[in-house]
Each structure stands twice: as structure tokens, then as C-alpha cells.
């Protein structure tokens, strides 16, 4: 099967402030390559400062890579071509409350990406918005609400709706499940799995909760200081971690859990 997204030799270096002859660069991400297929989930695990958020920013186009390229369906994604990228790669953030504009109603919030990226008429957009809201388990009445009138779980659903309304092919979840309460989190996981099956999405899950990673993902990539130190099928890597760092990461979570 053809991979949906192909990443070759992607890397990122930041310039540090310094004298003109003494320029130093800081490598946030060393060259890495991976592939994801439709209906699959890739989990990226690592501590803060390991480069996982940098990778997400590169994929979504918020930063331009130093080397390497990203191919979607065999077609290369140019840096700066946001029209193309916004359509196919969407992102959900950790704190959904702060990413929603408090002065806009939900309808306007969801209308914005449609206005910018599609040529639909207003009536069609309206229908699409209410359909999408129903798809994420909300009512079309919620269109006239403002973000502050919704609970944390509902806000997270709105940001999911905003992500899927353009019918993307890849969604990046940057710690999107970390701040939710346990019972809402399992609802959200169920919803994401459902939508993945319906729409054939590929997910890139950035998380440090090994339990969720194990349940949710097909492949795993462990980052440490910008380097990929371990990658493979989730079940195999978690069952037999070869690197000390991965073992430590898993042990930390096992340690917290109850041995039933």
C-alpha cells in the first residue's frame, strides 16, 4: 500500500545569537525519515525538549525545515504554500480553550477555515458546519454558542470539528488528550478512533502517557534530544524496548500503576 505521508531527512536547526564569525547553531531535530499510511497512527514519545513539538511544527508548516522534504500522496509539500497544507494537515493543541477565539461564535470559528480554503456558498457552509458538529457528538444548536459557554470536553470537540471540517488526511494531536478529565478522555479517544475509521485519517499522536500510546497507536517513534532512538510497531517496542531511555520511560509509568 502506498504511504499517505512520507518524510525524508527532515531536520531543523535554530541559529543562536552570536558574533558573525562565531555563529552557532542549535540542532533541535536531527535528520529523520518516516512513513504513515491511511488509517494508521504514529505516536511520538519523548520528554520536553526532545524535539517532538518541533517535528509537529515542521509537519504543519509553522516552521520551515533546514533540510529534507515532506511528501503527501507522493506530492511534495512546499514551505509557505499554506493553502495546500491547511487542507490536508490539521492540528489539535493541548489547551483547546485558549486556541478558540473567545469573541467569535462556534459557527464563525468553524466558518473561517471554510471561507479561506473552499469556494462553497454560504448555505453549503452552513450545512457542512452542522453536519460536522453532529459528527463530533454535538448539536447544531451549538453553532450560536460562544466558547466560554462550553465545558472543557466540548471545547476539545470543537477543535476536533475545526480540524476535520476541511476533510484532511492527517491530523496532528499535540498532547490533545493530556488536559482532559479521565471520563472525557475516554470519550474523546472513542470519538477519534471512530472518525479515523470513517474518514481514513492518519493521526500523529504526541503524548507522554504510555497507556494511551499503547491503546491508540500502530507505530511508535521515541525521540531524545532531537534524535530518533527507537522506532517500530508500538506493541513490539513497548514489549521489548532496546534502549535504556525507552525502558526508563516505560518503567516510570509502570511504576505508577497498580499491579493487579
Amino acid at each position: 500500500m502506498k504511504p499517505l505521508i512520507q518524510v525524508n531527512n527532515l531536520s531543523k536547526e535554530y541559529k543562536l545569537p552570536g558574533h558573525i564569525f562565531n555563529r552557532k547553531t542549535f540542532a533541535a531535530l536531527f535528520p529523520l525519515s518516516f512513513e504513515i499510511q491511511a488509517y494508521k497512527t504514529l505516536a511520538i514519545v519523548g520528554e520536553s525538549g526532545s524535539g517532538k513539538s518541533t517535528l509537529a511544527k515542521l509537519l504543519v508548516g509553522a516552521e520551515s525545515p533546514t533540510t529534507g522534504n515532506i511528501k503527501l500522496n507522493g506530492q511534495e509539500l512546499q514551505t509557505g504554500n499554506f493553502k495546500q497544507r491547511c487542507q490536508y494537515i490539521r492540528m489539535i493543541y493541548q489547551d483547546s480553550g485558549t486556541t478558540l477565539n473567545p469573541s467569535l461564535t462556534i459557527q464563525k470559528l468553524l466558518d473561517e477555515p471554510l471561507k479561506l480554503n473552499t469556494t462553497l456558498a454560504e448555505a453549503e457552509r452552513q450545512v457542512l458546519i452542522s453536519e460536522t458538529l453532529r459528527q463530533v457528538g454535538l448539536l447544531s444548536d451549538h453553532m450560536n454558542f460562544y466558547p466560554h459557554m462550553l465545558s472543557g470536553g466540548q471545547k476539545q470537540r470543537i477543535s476536533l470539528a475545526r480540524a476535520i471540517i476541511l476533510k484532511p488526511q492527517v491530523i496532528i494531536l499535540d498532547e490533545a488528550l493530556a488536559s482532559l478529565d479521565p471520563s472525557l478522555r475516554s470519550q474523546m479517544i472513542n470519538l477519534l478512533l471512530d472518525i479515523q475509521q470513517q474518514m481514513g485519517l492518519a493521526f500523529i499522536l504526541i503524548s507522554h502517557n504510555i497507556g494511551i500510546v499503547k491503546h491508540f497507536s500502530d507505530d511508535i517513534m521515541v525521540l531524545d534530544n532531537g534524535k530518533v532512538i527507537e522506532a517500530g510497531k508500538t506493541a513490539e517496542v513497548l514489549a521489548k524496548p532496546s534502549q535504556k531511555y525507552t525502558k526508563k520511560l516505560i518503567m516510570n509509568q509502570h511504576f505508577q500503576l497498580f499491579s493487579r
Binding site: 494511551i212 506493541a235 493487579r260
Partner: protein
Amino acid sequence: MNILDIRNLSIILVSGHKRILAVDRVSLSMKEGELRGLVGESGSGKSLLAQAIMGVLDDKWEVDADRFHWRGNDLMRLSVAERKKIISKDIAMIFQEPMSCLDPTTTIGAQLEEAVDDEQLTGYFWQKIKQRKQAAIKLLHKVGIKKHDLCLRSYPHQLTEALCQRVMIAMALARRPLLLIADEPTAAMESTNQSQIFRLLASLNQLKNMSLLLISHDLENMTHWTNRITVMYSGQFVEAGTTKQIFSTPFHPYTRALVDSSPHANSTFEPKSQLTALPGSIPILQHLPIGCRLGPRCPRAQQACVNAPKVKNHHGHLVSCHFSLKETY
């Protein structure tokens, strides 16, 4: 002996002429040297309960209890000043987001020295200054910070989140409290840092015989550290028992859902299968259901649930449900 004994504590929010029962008759008792967990999702009133114990709620809130004893003293009968004196001596609290709790304009050293109380110091003022400094260094050693000079000189923003939390714990320890209330001490922390902080708290509990009330929204994080757990939902008492009872035989449908809903690292769920989840979300304070507040979301709810259930005691395993899952085990 119970150091803290609370029976039927209610906290009422008075706004205008409306009175909202935010916490509805919750009981909590703690033995000396106990490590107790208090679990509940956001909006379950667990932080309110902690603040009521500390007595730091403002005029908007009314606190009422059948019994509110601290080491045999009835705190409800004492005046505010007397109460403050007892509580500030014996109970300490640490909060989530330690960075925002520390003063960003002062060094850690100055803040720590401020926390050391005068009763421990003797002699003339120059001797006291020296002793104060020594006490601050000693406190940092207690929480496992070895580079005390560097730490005392730095400002909060120069330290990591975990170090800040250690400093907060050090400040809490300054008056040698008998009870430490930790309100989500590791929220938004990396898992390695999380376990460090929990390990520190557990060792303080063991070595200093300090009781610890650990508040969290995550049931699975608590399991390794606590002896007993109390579960709350939407301001109501749900279930209390030893950690093992809560985990292996939860009696309340809500606890059952909490235990089942979290995908564990060592669980045997089929990957990508649907997890069990309660429908709906937590009710907001303005629209609380009558009777058992889990009612609208509960899979076992029946007509009787419109009346709040009484707390039943099964060999120390307390549960508040009309249709508990006890028979199913």
C-alpha cells in the same frame, strides 16, 4: 487516633439570593501518618474541600459541618483567630503550577527564609539571621536539593517546574506540619518529574510521619502511592476504601467507569478497541441534578436515584449508591 475528622461537610455558594450547594455532605477522616488520596474530576469540589480545611475560603462560601475536628479540637466552635493559629501551625498546603505560586521578583532564598518561623530561632538578631539562613539550607536538603547555594540565589523562572515544586514543598515543611495537603502537585509535569515528586512526598510521609492528603484527578497515578482513596463526583461523596478495594472491587458505578476508562500501560485491552465511557459530561454548578448527581450519566440509575443515597459501610469500604455493584463480585 484520627487527626482529622470531618462528618457531613457542606459548602454553599451564596450568590445574590441564590444558594448553591457546591459540596454536599462529604465525610473525610484521616489517621495519623496516613497517605490518603482524594480523587475527582474537575468541578467535583475536591479543591474546595481542601480550601475549607485550610479555612481560606472567602465570604462567598458558607461552610457547615456536623463535625469538624482537628486532633480533638472542634474547629467549628473556635473563633477565626484561634482557628487560624492552630491551622497555620499544623497544616500546610502545596498547589499545582508551583511557578505561579512563587514570587517572581524575589530570590528563592529570601522566600524560604520568610517561611521559617521565629519560634525556632534563639539569640540576638545577628544570630537569628544566621540561623534563618541555616534553616533554609536545611529545608532544601530535606527535599533533595543538593546545590543549595545556587538554588537560594536563583529566581523562580530560572528553575524547572519540578525544582519549583520541591521549593514549595520545602516552604510547606518549614513549620513542621502534621498534615500536608497537596492539591494536584504534579499537574502538567513530565512523567519522570511526576514520579520524583511523588517519591519525595511518600518518603516524607514515611520518615517524618507526616499525614498527606493527595488531591488528583487521575486515579491511576494515585494507586502506587496511597493507602486509602476517597472518590468524589460533582460535590458528592462517592466511595472510600483502601486502594486495593477501590481498584479491584469498586462498588460505585462511577468508580468502576473511572477504573475501566483509563488505558493502562499494562492492561489487556485490545488496541484501538472502544473504551468504556460514561455518556455526557460533568454538570455545571448552576444545573445540578437532584438526588444522586451521577444520575443522568449512570448506567445503573433507577427511579430511586432522585433521592440522594445514604452512605453504606461494608467493612471499611464506604459507598454511596442505591444500586452498588457489591453483589456482582
